[in-house]
């Protein structure tokens, strides 16, 4: 019985927003009737349809059945008591009156039922999407993890089982192990970022951060990993404070810079820029590599690109996870992200809103 009671409570749920919506619609209907009454001197013919319409709208725009039914009852009273002869008195002897009452109730119930159903379906669809996203993510991650793990286990066993290996061979194998482990660390950092965003949308804590500190952190991290690639960071003259979760935005910048190296192929220089564009902080990551194959541009942020498709870059690396994490982070900030080819190289741009109010999108 617990389930049905819960369902019942859901059907008759109350919210202040719904109360205001219902009250506003009902007042409008009453106003219309008063106006018609003054213009035409009688509302006998008009009141019913006006109130039916009101009941229909209320049922449609509020949750559950509660307000629709209340509106139906009030509608019946309004039509009978106020706007039907004799005015300001009840008269239930009018011919066909039961039909009017029935109409009100049926309109209210049917509309409420349809609305509830539509909302339920929306919710299910969203949930399905979430499940699908999670499955995609898991697939992408497992894929990202399996290859380096295989190589780590293989290389370390080779070193342990073959004491006769030359020093150079050992060094080469162990270097591979280190590189693969570092790759795994990056995958895990991305996963941690996702847990930091949380399951529900936009539950991040923003703090105003200085543009140069965020860029500085990302550049410093990147230089440690890729000392051979030149990085340049450009910031505006005046101090730009941007509301954000800095750890997440550094992750976005790191991912974009790493992609520039792994997938740009020939990248030797990366330029990071932050500038103010009205109410937005605009971040750009530009490289001088070979750019993004045109047929991939549209699919970039969907996480659907698989390794065998990412042609010339690093064969086993999949750029799906990194970019979808970037996208999720930027979205959670209420921002936008885009990519284009800049000839030479690729350019990724994302914008974050500067005013705190916009974070609730």
């Amino acid at each position: 019985m617990k389930f049905s009671r819960k369902k019942l409570r859901h059907m008759f749920s109350f919210s202040w927003r719904d109360l205001w919506v219902a009250a506003a619609i009902f007042l409008c209907a009453t106003g219309a009737c008063v106006l018609l009454h003054q213009l035409a001197d009688t509302t006998d013919g008009f009141a019913s349809p006006v109130y039916v319409l009101a009941v229909l709208l209320i049922s449609r725009f509020t949750d559950g059945y509660l307000f629709g039914l209340i509106a139906a009852v009030l509608g019946v009273i309004g039509v009978n008591y106020v706007f039907t002869y004799p005015y300001m008195a009840f008269n239930f002897t009018i011919a066909g009156y039961p039909l009017t009452i029935l109409t009100f109730l049926v309109v209210s119930l049917v509309t409420s039922a349809l609305t509830t159903q539509a909302k339920e379906q929306d919710r299910l669809r969203m949930e399905n999407e979430k499940v699908k996203m999670r499955a995609d993510l898991l697939r992408s991650v497992s894929h990202d993890i399996r290859t380096p793990l295989t190589s780590i286990v293989g290389a370390t066993s080779t070193v342990l089982d073959n004491p006769a290996l030359s020093k150079e061979e050992q060094t080469a194998l162990l270097t591979d192990v280190r590189d693969d482990a570092q790759w795994l660390i990056r995958v895990v950092e991305n996963l941690l970022s996702i847990t930091r965003i949380g399951n529900d949308q936009a539950k991040i804590t923003k703090q105003p951060e200085a543009a140069e500190e965020v860029l500085g952190e990302a550049v410093q991290k990147f230089r440690k990993r890729f000392p051979a690639v030149a990085v340049e960071a450009r910031i505006p003259e005046e101090l730009l404070l941007i509301p954000m979760d800095a750890i997440l935005i550094v992750q976005v910048l790191s991912n974009l810079m790493e992609n520039a190296v792994f997938h740009g192929g020939t990248t030797t220089r990366i330029t990071l820029t932050v500038q103010r564009e009205d109410n937005w902080a605009c971040f750009t990551v530009r490289d001088n590599g070979q750019g993004i194959p045109p047929q991939k541009l549209g699919l970039l942020f969907t996480g659907t690109i698989r390794d065998n498709e990412t042609s010339p870059g690093d064969g086993k690396r999949n750029m799906g996870l990194g970019l979808s994490v970037c996208m999720a982070i930027v979205r959670a900030h209420g921002g936008t992200m885009e990519a284009r080819n800049a000839d030479p190289g690729a350019e990724f741009t994302f914008r974050l809103p500067l005013s705190k109010e916009e974070q609730t999108i």
Partner: protein, 235 residues
């Protein structure tokens, strides 16, 4: 035989403890290992190590608890190791008196650099003996002149405001060490300074614009995201 500095590694993960100890032993230190908080506390009192590397996630007690216990009777340098990437754990450890922190995963270079810095700090009483000797702190082209209340870059006075100078002076006094936002706020604006560190960050942005060639690629004043600031260590 050379006397080697003793370092106690408090870490429950055997593989990590093993790797840290191997690195330390091969770089002129003598490493000891403790797997639990209980064991660690007894080893600290019996072996008197010169430095402690402390993992915050121990099986039997919170690493912060060990730190609190230790700080009640000793100023022995502590480098905290934490797998949690959340910055508030680092801040809590630093505010409890940890000297530095390492976030897992870290490399051997990083580990050795932190250990060197932390041990050097214990050798000098005020944390920075150049200030005690000459009244200045020098790193690269930057000179903090404590007598003249001036900061010079390549010989030029950079004209800091009073607050700005006090921030730089404080960082210089603890050169190489991360100072948390909270610590700096309290040192500068008193113990009842508001929890909002906006004013500090605006000051810092101004300082950087006066001192650094490119504020986004600092040579002297580093930001530890979400934790605090650090000035580069002297020559």
């Amino acid at each position: 035989m050379m006397i080697r500095e003793k370092i106690l590694v408090i870490e429950d993960e055997k593989s990590i403890s093993h790797f840290i100890s191997t690195v330390l032993n091969n770089n002129g230190y003598e490493a000891m290992q403790a797997q639990t908080g209980e064991e660690a506390l007894s080893m600290i009192s019996s072996h008197c190590p010169d430095l402690i590397i402390l993992d915050l996630g121990l099986p039997d007690m919170d690493g912060l608890e060990i730190l609190r216990n230790l700080r009640s009777w000793s100023s022995l340098p502590v480098v905290v190791v934490s797998a949690r990437s959340h910055e508030r754990d680092k801040v809590a450890a630093l505010d409890l008196g940890a000297d530095d922190y390492l976030t897992k995963p870290f490399g051997t270079d990083e580990l050795l650099a932190r250990v060197r810095t932390a041990i050097r700090h214990t050798r000098t009483v005020s944390g920075n003996d150049e200030i005690a000797r000459n009244g200045t702190y020098t790193v690269g082209d930057l000179v903090i002149d404590y007598n003249k209340h001036q900061v010079r870059v390549r010989g030029e006075n950079v004209h800091l405001t009073l607050s700005e100078f006090r921030i730089v002076a404080l960082l210089g006094k603890y050169a190489g060490k991360v100072l948390t936002y909270d610590f700096i706020m309290k040192e500068l604006w008193g113990p009842r300074a508001s929890g909002d560190n906006q004013i500090l960050r605006v000051n810092m942005a101004n300082i950087r614009r006066k001192i650094e060639k490119n504020p986004a690629e600092p040579e002297y004043l580093f930001t530890e995201m979400g934790v605090g600031y650090r000035i580069a260590e002297g020559n």
